[in-house]
Symmetry: C2
Subunit: 357 residues, 2 copies
């Protein structure tokens, strides 16, 4: 008998909501969180919504030693009808289980977890900011909790969902950023963990990120780990290029993360009859396109920024200035359409959104 | 003014010591632990020895999301004079700082940390088991504690040292194991985090480890991430081969961890006038040596097992049986000498050991 009944302990001490104009990313959390436990004999059990509070773990808990963890990120909005709205949450939950498989973490029920998330969001509805560009960021994550120094999968886990009201990614409007092509550090390689949303993929990139920041760039563009030649991702986003009217994004190759925004952009472009292709693209080819004057637009795509235009690419001693450092027309349309669908301001012909009544 | 004075809070509730014959690896911990905090304005501060107890962190603490963590592993013994004895602890502390640099974690004072560790060990001396093959395993580790979902280095950290009395790695005597050469999964690649002792390197290997175990093997042998051709490590150990009288270990290459046992073995072999070389070695070359009848011995080397002989290597459809599945003479000598020096049963001509009076 698996315990799946959600227990809700309401927080008697509600916090004041933050000033919507001063929201940062992921610093403020709501009054409640979701937690669920796993042991080998019980499976996933004890789903509960409890007051947001610190958690207590053994110093020997495996998460502190061997990095066995996965996470997801998605957003909730208040749509024009005043309902809570999610964007393709089932895609995030599917990916959570793909990440679990890669990290030897037992799978969760995607259906149940979505139900629990909906309950949490209903309870925290007042925390969802309504100003342009703001949202409630949802962070599900799983950590290994067994107190043991054995290098082996944990026998127990904790799954949590925390919620953070977040400000606009572009408080001064969408603007292109400068990116450094990273020649030394590697984000991921085939056979590694690059396709999974697991902690180590992110902290492993900090050295490169700091180097890029020191040189005045917003982020790094990652090349493949094998040949250091093919473009993979930009920062923690997928990447797209418009070359001579065609949109190109690196194909999924066992080291690139399969982004929900990436997938949605590809589907949107196909719907718009824009030529879009997933294939390998080398930095050399991109440079040639630039020299030929046919590199028209470039942008990152991910949940946090949705779409992030690239104004400048620094590659060894060269600087590629893209579209005169202006946001391209297609980039702009994708941003407007995606955020419009996500927030409910535009119709959703793809059935991507989920409303919580 | 940096606070470096160690505060000691003795545990009034001492636990019973475990049965030395039933010790497992890293499941039982001593009465005390060392903790120290870091913030950007204070640096590392508040070094203290406190009763071993669970720790409390925000659910948003960065360790749970982006894997920013490093660790070390070393052992303490009671030598024949009855003193606490460490083996090359300064090498572990140097590596801790190398790992810190790779993970964008601020460096620690190696000298101070060694002093704090000595204090902790003096207090916990009675926890060091004395039976053959047993020891006190020392686990220093650092975790990112800032409560923020930003993908960026944490602004605060916690360093801890926990101690675990551990049993003999070979309760039935040293014996060769069966290893599967891993063709798909990758442990690390140049430009990645393979040279650092960081959590993600370990949990990223669980899929491969489980696959090997399913097929009856004790561990995997990792090949390089670029060509999937050159031998890198075995499980979480460095690896050595004796071919036609010469000992070969893969050269450090920006993806292999620089093991303290590895380094000590190389120095020991040189002292013995055994031909030892650090260079690239492919699985193809190893196979050829096997076919030529000159692959004489093979073993893993690491802190936990010290030396772990390889009896059998499974590579695609082939099985390479090494030295008739017996522990080789050189492997045996290395094990006996290293453990002899570590425990103080043999003289230490290299000045590798540190005694705590």
């Amino acid at each position: 008998m698996i315990e799946t009944k959600l227990d809700i302990q309401e927080n008697p001490n509600k916090k004041a909501k933050p000033d919507p104009d001063k929201l940062q990313f992921g610093k403020t959390f709501t009054d409640h969180m979701f937690t669920m436990e796993y042991t080998r004999d019980k499976g996933w059990f004890q789903p509960q919504i409890v007051p947001y509070a610190p958690i207590t773990l053994e110093p020997a808990a495996m998460i502190f030693h061997y990095g066995q963890s996965v996470f997801e990120g998605l957003k909730a909005y208040i749509n024009t009808q005043g309902d809570v709205q999610l964007f393709r949450p089932e895609e995030n939950l599917k990916r959570l289980n793909r990440s679990n498989a890669r990290l030897s973490i037992p799978p969760v029920s995607e259906e149940l977890l979505l139900e629990y998330l909906k309950e949490l969001l209903s309870l925290e509805k007042d925390w969802i900011p309504r100003a342009e560009g703001t949202s409630l960021y949802i962070r599900p994550f799983i950590i290994a909790t067994e107190p043991s120094l054995s290098v082996a999968p944990s026998k127990s886990y904790k799954l949590m969902i925390v919620l953070a009201p977040v400000g606009s990614y572009y408080p001064e409007g969408i603007h292109p950023v400068s990116i450094q092509v990273e020649g030394h550090f590697t984000r991921a390689v085939r056979g590694g963990t690059g396709t999974a949303k697991t902690g180590g993929n992110y902290s492993g990139g900090y050295n490169a990120q700091e180097k890029a920041a020191d040189q005045g760039h917003a982020q790094v563009m990652w090349l493949d780990g094998v040949e250091k030649k093919y473009i993979e991702e930009v920062g923690s986003m997928n990447v797209f290029f418009k070359i001579d009217g065609q949109v190109i994004t690196p194909e999924l190759n066992d080291s690139i993360l399969e982004g929900v925004t990436r997938k949605s952009i590809i589907e949107l472009l196909k719907d718009w009859n824009v030529d879009v292709v997933e294939r390998k693209i080398s930095m050399q080819e991109l440079h040639q396109a630039y020299k030929d004057g046919i590199l028209e637009e470039a942008f990152g795509a991910g949940t946090a920024a949705v779409v992030s235009p690239i104004g400048e690419l620094s590659w060894d001693d060269e600087t590629l200035i893209i579209n005169g450092r202006q946001t391209g027309e297609l980039t702009k349309s994708l941003y407007t359409t995606l955020t419009g669908i996500q927030t409910g301001k535009l119709p959703d012909p793809f059935n991507w959104t989920v409303q919580i009544k």
